[in-house]
Amino acid sequence: MIPLLRHGKPDGQPRRLTLEILRHNPADPASVPHLQAYEIEEAEGMTLFIALNEIRAQQDPSLMFDFVCRAGICGSCAMLVNGRPGLACRTLTRDLGERITLAPLPVFELIGDLSVNTGKWMRGTSERLQTWIHNDTETDLDAFETRMEPATAEAIYELDRCIECGCCIAGCGTVQMRERFVGAVGLNKIARFRLDPRDTRSDEDFYELIGDDDGVFGCMSLVGCHDVCPKQLPLQTQIAFLRRKMALQGMR
């Protein structure tokens, strides 16, 4: 986990923070993207969630951003914090310098200021990769559930923890060049369903979905995704493993 840095001054005076926010409203024809600076006083335990809401309540009610759970669980608030993708809600200002730049995640459609349309992108990817259990047997709801090894269930959950925040896409080198690349989020999902004994799809089926340069062979192993994943998913190992499996499948 990330070590916590402290910037508190010895005299206990709160810091003045300057948040430079990349602003743009596509709904307004007159709007041009520009950086706007806001000054606020730091408080103990202040997160970017608290800071941005304070700015909106006290200084600029037009500022757009997305928060939902504000607990690092829902994935709504990913943005570039000093150029690096991360979840704003659980970023403490005390871990940052006095000047903080905030920009919306790249790649995704901009809604306004720090708000981007990750939902549309994720649904599109889900449809393309068919990210659901494929199984034709009718479940008898009155009967015992099918057994599963406890370790298998835990391993599936390990990959199921993705919150579709979009950080891996924003940190991905391939996406810059290849618009349709499914990214770590997409490949991780395939790895998740591949691992799940309840999904009856074979490697042949998965190859159909990701066996090309928009899929697993597009990844250039730049590891951008792995480093920025807020859930610390084992993205690199999963992608490498999947690539070997798909390469084998491709040779058949």
């Binding site: 309540a57 015992f144 269930a153």
Partner: protein, 659 residues
């Protein structure tokens, strides 16, 4: 104005809305879902600890069944819930868990053999049966006799929401994201869909539907200190209330969760205590056994929260810069357990508190958590007052929870009610009631009303600031309509809230950003939230007893003689300052479990005159059926299967029970 037609409009893309949508779609209807956010970001994703269902697979779950789950739920509700609904629920919950398993939820599983666990501060060895290996396991939660809460580490809601959301994608059900229902289209008798505001461009769209289902979740954000997501503002309930004909039930029944981290209000799951965590005070003393010798830390939430606040008031709170709190100690569970079963808790402690819960105590204090009240429906989820309108999930008062919800019963309710209500919606659509003739004049009238609401805000250049009014409302609710209530403070709260409501009509926007201006959105929502807050405060003021989470120091006893009834709040006339309250009696004569002591908490209820008679009747029935199986006895006491769709009627398989 753009209009969109569908058979079924589901407002809300959380667990309840998605599951109802699937059920209605399965029966051949066209279904469309609206959501403020991408559905997987709904607040259901934040549910951590788990989902109750009486599978009885584990050593500590042995002997569990629907009857035990039923009794726990009714006691938990402090006899405020609808017992028929509770029966539907406990019967269907195992089916819901199993269905979710088939949709990919990676439920934690039983590992046969011996394992260590912490129970009541003692390390014990449990032996899980060989026959149960690989079946779904369960953990302990508050207010339950058995270990019944099925879980996926502490990311249960996330795993459930993703699995169900993926099913809706598989079924091709469209979700219109970043869309907010702002008014129902209705003529006072029937609902025809909703007027919806696009949160990207600010435009209004009419969604016309034969059946409309509100599944918009809770309204925790009317409180300052809450575990709820920032989008839990209760707009779905508010637009139902504003029809004037649909009542909100039991709005004063608001749950406070014992362990929100202090001061941020972010939840750490009840699973912490279920798995053996303890509450400690400023001296490090474990105080809950002093108050609750039977259930200790695992009494129901209302009881534990109240005991905690009382303990703080007695001078035993720990203190930091932000104020007083208590400690949650899970260090004895060990790093390995926390890394596997409480990993969200670990992350939350790391990021928001900078501590490691395997080594340090967590500062906690109760915070608003759950809305038991909501749109009042019947057992099929049909809203009172308007045909064609349904509700399910936390937005509804189906009335599973009465005055206190048990942990783990809510995500279970969302899915179970989604299954049942979605099916009832399909029945409605295929009946003559599902036919519809909407006049364009009515549609125009409804749309004009909404436009007028927004322009009244944008055209007003008054002195008020919506963010300041919102903060004022939240402070009033937390200070005066919180865990411990008193008539005088409640009266003050109602007065102050009605003043705020008047001021909310004098807002002057400071910006006119084109598109969906967030300040306008806030100002508009604020007026609705104030109405809900007034329903809560006024309902609490009028209810002169204590029941479940509604606790009044001036009326500390549960009073079944006078208050065994559900509050129904109507806002008939837009000009009225407080809602009209009506009451719906709960009928002791038909209860399977007549009112009594909960097994924890106070033991001083004022008895209902019918209780003794009903008890005697039940004794007789039980004696007559002494040799019958438990299903037959239950059926004689309070039949419920006639309320279920046929495909959900079967008995549930369970270890040690033949079906």
């Amino acid at each position: 104005m753009e209009t969109i037609h569908t058979d079924v409009l589901v407002i809300g893309g959380g667990l309840a809305g998605l599951r109802a949508a699937l059920a209605a779609r399965k029966r051949g209807n066209s279904v469309l879902i609206l959501s403020l956010v991408p559905p997987k970001r709904s607040h259901s994703a934040a549910a951590q600890g788990g989902m109750q269902a009486s599978l009885g697979n584990t050593a500590k779950g042995a002997g569990d069944n629907e009857d035990v789950h039923f009794e726990d739920t009714v006691r938990g509700s402090d006899w405020g819930n609808d017992q028929e609904v509770a029966r539907l629920f406990v019967h269907t919950a195992p089916k819901a868990v199993r269905e979710l398993a088939s949709w990919g939820v990676p439920w934690n599983r039983v590992q046969a053999g011996e394992r260590e666990a912490i129970i009541d501060n003692r390390r014990v060895t449990l032996s899980e049966p060989e026959a149960a290996h690989g079946l779904i396991t369960a953990r302990d939660f508050g207010g339950t006799k058995k270990w019944r809460t099925c879980y996926v580490s502490d990311g249960t809601g996330h795993a459930m929401l993703y699995a169900i959301s993926d099913q809706t994608i598989a079924e091709g059900i469209p979700v219109h994201e970043r869309m907010e229902a702002v008014s129902l289209i209705h003529d006072g008798l029937r609902c025809y869909g909703a007027i919806v505001r696009n949160l990207i461009d600010g435009k209004l769209v009419a969604y016309i539907a034969r059946a409309t289902c509100i599944a918009t979740g809770g309204f925790g954000r009317i409180y300052q200190s809450t575990t709820n997501a920032v989008i839990n503002e209760g707009i779905g309930a508010a637009i139902a209330l504003e029809t004037g004909v649909v009542p909100l039930g039991n709005m004063e029944a608001v749950q406070f969760h014992p362990t929100a981290i202090f001061p941020a209000g972010i939840l750490v799951t009840e699973g912490c205590r279920g798995d053996g965590g303890l509450l400690r005070d400023v001296d490090g003393h474990r105080f809950m056994p002093d108050y609750e010798p039977e259930k200790k830390e695992l009494a129901s939430r209302d009881v534990v929260s109240r005991r905690m606040e009382a303990h703080i008031r007695s001078g035993k709170g720990a203190r930091n810069r932000f104020g007083e709190h208590l400690w949650l100690d899970i260090t004895q569970l060990g790093a390995l357990h926390i890394d596997h079963k409480l990993r969200e808790v670990k992350e939350i402690c790391h990021y928001f508190l900078g501590i490691d819960p395997a080594r340090q105590w967590i500062p906690v204090r109760p915070a608003q958590h759950y809305s038991m009240g909501g749109i009042r429906t019947n057992a099929h989820g049909a809203a009172y007052g308007l045909s064609g309108l349904f509700a399910c999930g936390e937005a509804a008062c189906w009335d599973l929870h009465g005055f206190n919800r048990l942990g783990g019963n809510s995500v279970a309710e969302t899915v179970v009610s989604g299954m049942i209500v979605g099916d009832a919606i399909a029945d409605f659509c295929s009946s003559s009631g599902g036919d519809m003739h909407l006049s364009t004049a009515l549609l125009r009238e409804c749309a004009d009303k909404v436009r007028a609401e927004f322009s009244a805000i944008t055209d007003n250049h008054g002195p008020e600031n919506p963010a300041a009014l919102l903060g004022a409302m939240q402070a009033i609710m937390t200070d005066k309509v919180g865990i411990v209530r008193h008539g005088e403070q409640l009266a003050e709260a109602v007065r102050e809230l009605t003043e705020l409501e008047a001021r909310s009509r004098q807002i002057g926007l400071r910006n006119h950003r084109p598109g969906a201006n967030p300040e306008l959105t806030l100002a508009w929502r604020l007026q609705k939230m104030l109405k809900l807050a007034i329903c809560v405060a006024h309902g609490a003021r009028q209810r002169t007893e204590s029941r479940g989470a509604h606790f009044r120091t001036d009326f500390p006893r549960r009073n079944d003689a006078e208050w065994l009834k559900r509050t129904l709040a109507y806002w008939t006339d837009p000009a009225q300052l407080v809602p009209s309250l009506h009451y719906e009696a709960l009928d002791v004569r038909h209860m399977e479990l007549p009112p009594g002591w909960r097994g924890y908490g106070a033991r001083d209820a004022i008895e209902h005159p019918e209780t003794a008679h009903r008890m005697a009747q039940i004794e007789t029935i039980r004696a007559q059926l002494a040799t019958a199986d438990r299903h037959a006895v239950q059926d004689a006491l309070m039949p419920f299967r006639h309320l279920l769709p046929r495909h959900l009627c079967g008995d549930n398989a369970r270890p040690g029970e033949s079906t």
